[in-house]
Symmetry: D2
Subunit: 136 residues, 4 copies
């Protein structure tokens, strides 16, 4: 089963056309990724950033905005790991309302230690592998 | 009892010092107000804005940032109505973590119909009066 | 020559690592596109959105974040039209500091009239064609 | 003469009513303050934050949103120092379009060294005093 989050579309997210302004989608996507790391991978962004100079910066994104999302809607986000690299991970993230797809994207991020890409710590990798197996 | 919302401080809210960038507090405050109108006053922002040219723009804010909030914290927001005017309302909104106060503010907004301030619709007023009585 | 804009990286754009939070890059990209439409295509976003229900929503983005941008830097954005479709346009947008590339992306947007994709108005198309010819 | 900045109201700043969403005003205000420190006080936010754990967090704001600002407008911001304290400063910031006032606010910030309020460094104080004298 993919990781799941519900996001309510609020005033803050919407543009003069009353629909989500796409940079706000990426704020929601980052929140989904952030919660995934805390809930599933066992490492919160606070632990990463306030601690030892770690982080998971996004290096690549490919997104399609299939249909607009509107103020007041509750949009369902799912996250799956598509590919787990030595120092990187590629996610597939989708947003839907009921059966209707709103956005789908591929996002690649890398694990950083002391300012440069580094191999995933064993415990983080193990949890991501388990997540992938359970999702399969 | 005041209206309550829990906000998790996420990456998106934080500045290079690792604490909430104050304009993001106002995004959270607006979300609290927005949810209050949907949950308590019976009128969502979507109904207001996508419908008949209504809205509740903020006209005045007075805020004190008492102590910083940090990435990963779950901050508790409360909202009370301080004063209900003919076409306006003044709210007291506070953010706390446990016993520690983080932010307190007074916010005045007005009810708009067709682009100008107008008396609160009777049903909205009645619900706000009930909320104030129950909070007292 | 491509269309050009200089963006100063301000506090507002930066995350707890002191670098641009990637959703803020997309805010800058949207600003570049918005100014391009006003300056080159002769149609501001205000004219589009406050007028006749027009707009140019983004439907696809592919971005690579090549190197981080830091607080205080002045980053140079360029925009080129890669492909002009009947009701769409694909842009190449790059951000650089001196010779160092920071971000490159491809972005596709569509012209909307009355809520649906429609052929570019002749005058807008003519200006974009001229821009492409001059850039070649 | 007060310190001055021109801000163009862009799509990114506007809400479903087509006017500036008030938290975005505070982003603009923070940008005005940030540029004031770099241009007038001789200390950029980059120097403060990436260097020795300095900063100028906002501790108090009082704002009135007098009239809405709309997509496409170029709004003129002015900043004056109202009061220079030992470790703090109070600013008056106003936004106008021509003669029409849009927003006025009072903002208090404090100088931080190593996580706590500290006296202004002499050079910063001297520059602010000069600015106040020239503005008088």
């Amino acid at each position: 089963m993919p990781y799941q989050r519900l996001n309510q579309i609020e005033f803050n997210h919407c543009d003069p056309a009353g629909i989500v302004f796409y940079p706000r989608y990426f704020e929601m996507v980052n929140s989904v990724v952030e919660n995934f790391f805390a809930d599933v991978v066992g490492r919160s962004f606070a632990q990463m950033h306030l601690g030892q100079g770690n982080g998971v910066p996004t290096v690549r994104i490919e997104a399609e905005f299939v249909a607009p999302s509107r103020l007041g809607e509750k949009v369902f986000f799912t996250l799956e790991i598509v590919k787990l690299g030595g120092a990187s991970a590629e996610f597939s993230i989708r947003a839907r309302l009921g059966e209707e797809e709103r956005m789908r994207l591929r996002l690649t991020l890398v694990w950083i230690e002391g300012g440069r890409a580094a191999p995933w710590p064993e415990e983080m990798r193990a949890r991501m592998v388990t997540f992938m197996e359970e999702a399969a």
